[in-house]
């Protein structure tokens, strides 16, 4: 199975809308746009402004084994072309989440991807198993790369052995599509990507936020309550495009490209680098219509160039792109 199954003659693209659907493992999305974890709530927050049925998927806010208070404010700092955040995985814990929150995801008119964070291999296994067992959840994203919970959360994406163990542990407990979210804060992201692929990931999310800090020079303290945070927004887009480029040369599972995407042309950079789909996080904060504009712009781009399907252009700027199996 794979995203690149369309063999439609490109001439038909002029007669009908190009096919922008995408497969992430067994997860079929009608649009190549995912809404980033922690940036879209559970979808209901944006439902008044956006037709959720036009989205590919919503990646829910990460849930952990135990409830988490989250970091002390301030949790946000605006930086040039970027947003620095340190939320700290505030969530009610898997028990309360399953009891109070998951049922309401049933009526979402797009795919719903649960996000799992943890502090031990056992956490990833335990939370993934319980969350993936719910019918409301179509797939699991393994957040092994949260930069805002001390060094613990991101350790999994930065240590090859732990990345492998966490992925394998989650793989063992669910047959649902498994997306592993990688950190850019590593020397060799392609190496970690290979490990996650070998450990059973169906797709990779590339990238999580880039670690950063901002200091108030008048008060002489870091601006964030957590001191350090994760940088998102257009400031990190070139970092993310390169990460996708490198990962696309290393693995044959689909990549979800993310980092500062606001427009279709931003998204196309990731797709041409080798991403099968894209994820929009901070871009929703600039304009909640961004995901709809991205899909419309991608369709126009494909139509203008005579392509019948998005899959035809995945990796087309990347000579060493391995392709999606």
């Amino acid at each position: 199975m794979g995203a690149r199954t369309s063999l439609v003659n490109s001439k038909s693209a002029t007669l009908s809308q190009p096919d922008v659907s995408v497969n992430l493992g067994a997860l079929r999305l009608s649009a190549p746009t995912l809404m980033g974890s922690g940036c879209y709530g559970s979808g209901e927050e944006y439902a008044p402004f956006v037709d959720l049925g036009a989205l590919g998927a919503i990646v829910l806010k990460s849930v952990t084994r135990h409830p988490r208070l989250g970091n002390a404010p301030p949790r946000l700092v605006s930086t040039p072309s970027g947003l620095l955040n340190a939320i700290g995985l505030q969530n009610p814990g898997i028990d309360a989440y399953l009891e109070n929150d998951v049922a309401k995801f049933a009526d979402r008119p797009c795919a719903v991807i649960g996000s799992v964070a943890g502090f031990s291999v056992d956490d990833y296994s335990y939370v993934t198993e319980r969350l993936a067992a719910r019918d409301e959840i179509d797939a699991i994203e393994l957040n092994i790369s949260c930069p805002n919970v001390g060094t613990e959360g991101e350790t999994f994406a930065c240590d090859p052995a732990l990345a492998e163990a966490a992925t394998r542990a989650a793989r063992r407990v669910t047959g649902k599509p498994l997306i592993v979210k990688l950190s850019p804060n590593v020397t060799d992201i392609a190496g970690i990507a290979r490990i996650a692929e070998a450990a059973g990931a169906d797709a990779l999310a590339v990238i999580n936020t880039v670690r950063g800090m901002s200091i108030d020079v008048d008060r002489r303290t870091p601006r964030l309550g957590n001191a350090s945070g994760g940088l998102s927004g257009p400031a990190i887009r070139p970092i993310a495009v390169l990460a996708v480029w490198e990962v696309a040369q290393a693995v044959k599972i689909p990549i979800v490209g993310q980092g500062g995407i606001e427009t279709a042309r931003d998204a196309l950079e990731f797709i041409l680098a080798g991403a099968s789909a894209v994820c929009i996080g901070t871009g929703n904060f600039t304009d909640p219509r961004a995901p709809l504009n991205v899909v419309a712009g991608i369709r126009d781009y494909l139509t203008d160039r005579g392509h019948a399907a998005l899959s035809e252009i995945v990796g087309k700027a990347n000579p060493q792109f391995l392709g999606v199996r």
Binding site: T64, H66, N85, F285
Partner: protein, 294 residues
């Protein structure tokens, strides 16, 4: 009587007028019929940057009458510069109305409005609403300097008694606006509605507790989404008083027995607190002072 749908939406508005009542502060008038009709005192809107490339800006809705609303903005950075420079006839997309407004009926007959700086923007609609119901109003208004006090006459025209405080003493009391409050006897007002920077609001909350006056505070916070999705704008809040939000903290659940092969990185992270972090944009921006744990 038809019911008014107050759910937020993206509204395309058109700039009708703009002025700079004092240097560095702009009031942007917008034709926005539905927003003008829907907005409750204390609610806010997110302005989508016309040029993109930066997060939307949260702004309190200053005026709402007929088909027109206005936004007050301090011109400080690229986002507010861009908004303040919009010419008449330009379009501006706004998400709103957002957040919960003031509970004006709970403030009694003799209400103090307390503003710090541009926080005044969130108090005109409450003042108009209270005045129309015959409440007695007092405005306590603090700013850096006399030149930064905006539209004081709009409040005195509503019958409000006005007392000002400036950091440099150029008008009214020389010092903080909260000094004016602290000088008053207990129960000097039946209720307080305040908006301003967090340090000022904390001081208002402390003074109000001492004077035994119920106070509602409209918080100014940095928002990313403004709609409750990102949990970036939180404030510590008495856990028991807000439904069951994400982050509600009780005793930690009993930890499951850990299998011997389980590898743990770092210590377990479990917090116990008598508060939870709630979203200023969603559960607020107006909170009862006594429910905040800050």
């Amino acid at each position: 009587m038809r019911t008014l749908d107050r759910s937020p939406a993206v509204h395309r508005t058109v700039v009708s007028d703009r002025r700079e009542p004092v240097p560095g502060i702009a009031v942007l008038g917008l034709i926005a019929p539905r927003l003008a009709e829907m907005t409750l005192p204390g609610q806010f809107a997110m302005a989508i940057p016309p040029g993109g490339g930066q997060a939307a800006t949260a702004l309190g809705i200053y005026e709402a009458e007929g088909t027109r609303i206005s936004l007050m903005l301090v011109i400080v950075g690229p986002r507010t510069h861009e908004l303040a420079a919009l010419p008449t006839g330009a379009t501006l997309d706004l998400i709103g109305p957002l957040g919960n407004g003031f509970e004006l009926d709970s403030l009694g007959e003799n209400v103090a409005l307390i503003a710090g700086g541009v926080g005044i923007a969130s108090l005109l609609l409450p003042a108009q609403s209270l005045a129309s119901r015959g409440k007695r109003l007092t405005l306590l208004y603090g700013a850096r300097t006399a030149d930064a006090l905006v539209d004081v006459n709009r409040f005195s025209e509503l019958g409000a008694k006005v007392a000002c405080a400036t950091d440099d003493g150029t008008r009214g009391h020389s010092g903080f606006v909260t000094d004016l409050l602290r000088a008053l006897p207990k129960h000097a007002f039946s209720g307080i509605a305040a908006c301003g920077p967090s340090p000022m609001l904390r001081a208002v909350g402390r003074a109000a507790a001492y004077l035994e006056i119920p106070a509602q505070l409209a918080l100014e916070e940095t928002f990313a989404c403004g709609v409750g999705a990102c949990w970036g704008c939180v404030v510590p809040h008495a856990a028991s008083s807000v439904g069951a939000p994400i982050g509600l903290i009780g005793a930690p659940p009993q930890a499951a027995p850990r299998p011997p092969h389980a590898k743990r990185v770092g210590p377990p992270t479990r917090e116990i607190a008598d508060f939870s972090y709630v979203r200023v944009c969603k559960e607020g921006p107006v909170f009862w002072a006594h429910e905040l744990r800050w």
